[in-house]
């Protein structure tokens, strides 16, 4: 109890994370036929994955508890549970392909960034797609009976076909993780080069958040490739040491997943919900600025932001309106908000807005060579 108090864990996310981890544990137990198909060599990975599941679920539930996140989460849930889902689902599928699979929005940000990210993302996802079923005991390979020249694949304890060891399928099965490793290393190296060249990234990046995940991914991939090299060309020399190093780096990566930058993988699908929300808002129409009359804010977003501002105790940001009533600050467009600052300053300087009070206004003795007064 004192440890929990020290960690300052929130009860609802804690419950959600515990349930998610239990559900995963149950899925592992079921899929591996009560643990019978679990590979003892992969138990370290399994424990780290369960921890990562707990951490990611905790952070996810804590994240959607934030008032602003809850606003979009609830809207997406409402859409999915309403008759509108029939209309929204095909669009969501298309958006998922565009935004999550192809990641086109990153391409629009920068083609170099997209190339590096695509290699990294798809290399990682490919790697996880192969290793997680193996770690969970959902997929396993054995020799086919007494025939050592054929491999038998098992899925959830059921036979799922066999193939000869010298076939193309066998080659792909045994080396798909090598391909993933090469993709990840290429993506990481390109990212590091881009980060080195980009002045903005260089100024704002942090080692623990931005560089450490890349270094860890390279370490995981390199040790994985070295296992293949040891087995292929070095007659298995140092295989046990390399296997330990690989396991160590993977476990470190898994333990860091909930805390670091890679958590964005779990957050990104929210973009699909937001795009649907924006499309529904466009259909409902935009409201006019109370200052200049320009249509600027989608009606649904105005309503939800109004509620959000109440929760955030910002609802007092209201102006008195001429002729009674009030104008919420949210009802002013960004341009009017900017002009309001200048107008307030001018009013403070001159008692009222002076349309011609540009410089020089104060006869300031400015000992500054670039000043117009100097």
């Amino acid at each position: 109890m004192s440890l929990l108090a020290e960690l300052d864990l929130e009860p609802r996310p804690l419950l959600g994370a515990a349930l998610a981890t239990l559900a995963l544990g149950a899925a592992v137990a079921l899929g591996s036929r009560g643990g019978r198909w679990l590979d003892p060599a992969l138990l370290g990975y399994l424990l780290a994955t369960l921890f990562a599941c707990f951490g990611i679920a905790y952070r996810y539930f804590a994240w959607i508890e934030r008032p602003a996140t809850r606003m979009y989460f609830r809207h997406t849930l409402r859409t999915l549970l309403s008759p509108r889902a029939l209309k929204a689902l095909p669009r969501m599928a298309l958006l998922t392909v565009d935004q999550i699979v192809l990641q086109r929005f990153i391409e629009k940000r920068s083609i170099k960034r997209w190339g590096a990210h695509a290699l990294l993302a798809w290399g990682c996802l490919l790697g996880f797609a192969v290793t997680i079923p193996l770690v969970f005991g959902w997929v396993r390979f054995t020799s086919e009976g007494l025939d050592a020249t054929r491999y038998q694949a098992w899925v959830l304890g059921f036979p799922a076909g066999s193939f000869p060891l010298d076939s193309f399928l066998a080659f792909v099965s045994f080396h798909i993780l090598d391909l993933a490793a090469v993709m990840v290393i290429a993506g990481c190296v390109l990212s590091l080069i881009r980060r080195k060249q980009d002045e903005g990234d260089t100024a704002t990046q942090r080692f623990d958040l931005d560089l450490l995940p890349l270094v860890l991914l390279i370490a995981v991939s390199m040790t994985g490739l070295m296992l293949t090299a040891s087995e292929k060309w070095l007659q298995g020399r140092n295989f046990a040491t390399l296997a330990f190093l690989h396991e160590l780096t993977v476990i470190l990566l898994l333990l860091g997943l909930p805390f670091g930058k890679l958590f964005h993988v779990v957050q990104r699908p929210a973009q699909v919900g937001v795009t649907i929300y924006k499309a529904e808002g466009e259909a409902e129409g935009r409201l006019a600025c109370k200052g200049c009359g320009t249509a600027f804010i989608r009606a649904n977003q105005r309503r939800d932001l109004g509620e959000l501002w109440k929760v955030l105790e910002l609802d007092g940001a209201r102006h008195s309106a001429p002729g009674g009533g009030s104008i919420h600050h949210l009802d002013l467009c960004p341009r009017c908000k900017r002009r309001l600052v200048a107008k307030a300053q001018s009013t403070r300087l001159h008692g009222a807005f002076d349309p011609f009070a540009t410089i020089p206004v104060h006869a300031e003795p400015i000992p500054d060579p670039t000043s117009l007064k100097a």
């Binding site: 903005g200 260089t202 960004p334 200048a342 009070a357 410089i359 500054d368």
Partner: protein, 193 residues
């Protein structure tokens, strides 16, 4: 880290609308090619007044409070950064909620960008691009103890919107900084533009 003894002092009254800041801003390394500074005309028919707006870098940024993906962070030196690229989902909450109308969400990129005080420059001891080129010094980045010698007016970092108080890192120049600057929409509506 941006040196804490330096400050950004904004005086819209001094702006001559030359747009140098707009061009220079696009040279900033953190958003190269895109200008984050806003230069608005108060009302072309009635006044030559132009309004340069950079981020005020609020102490408790509303943009960060309303961000669903927790993508907007304020560093220890008080600079509120553009949304983190891996997290921003382009919802526009920040753009619509900023009390000063600063952030810009680029649709298609699903990315919010904003003035980050030219962090690539200020964190290594240079001035922000806009302050470097502003000929009338409506945008002034100097040591805080120097500003009293350069201006009659004094820096104000305290704003009032209805009953909501917003405190900022950057300052607006006014004669009496003891009282918060009241951003009252009646100024826009009653006085027209």
């Amino acid at each position: 880290m941006v040196p804490q003894d330096y400050g950004f002092f904004i005086d819209p009254q001094r702006c001559i609308g030359c747009r140098s800041c707009v061009g220079a801003c696009a040279e900033c390394g953190t958003h190269r090619g895109r200008s984050m500074i806003h230069l608005d005309e108060m009302d072309r028919f009635d006044s030559p007044q132009t309004v340069p707006t950079v981020c005020m870098h609020c102490e408790d940024p509303i943009c960060a409070q309303v961000c669903p993906s927790d993508a907007i962070k304020r560093s220890e030196d008080g600079v509120v950064h553009a949304a983190q690229k891996p997290r921003c989902i382009g919802c526009q909450n920040c753009e619509l909620s900023c009390p000063f109308g600063v952030p810009i969400v680029f649709s298609g990129l699903e990315q919010m960008l904003k003035c980050d005080l030219c962090y690539d420059r200020t964190s290594v001891g240079h001035k922000p691009m806009c302050a470097t080129v502003c000929p009338s010094q409506a945008l002034l980045f100097v040591r805080k103890d120097e500003v009293a010698n350069l201006r009659h007016n004094k820096p104000l970092r305290d704003f009032l919107i209805g009953s909501v108080r917003v405190k900022t890192k950057n300052a607006i120049m006014v004669p009496d900084p003891e009282t918060p600057l009241h951003l009252d929409a009646a100024l826009l509506i009653d006085g027209g533009f």
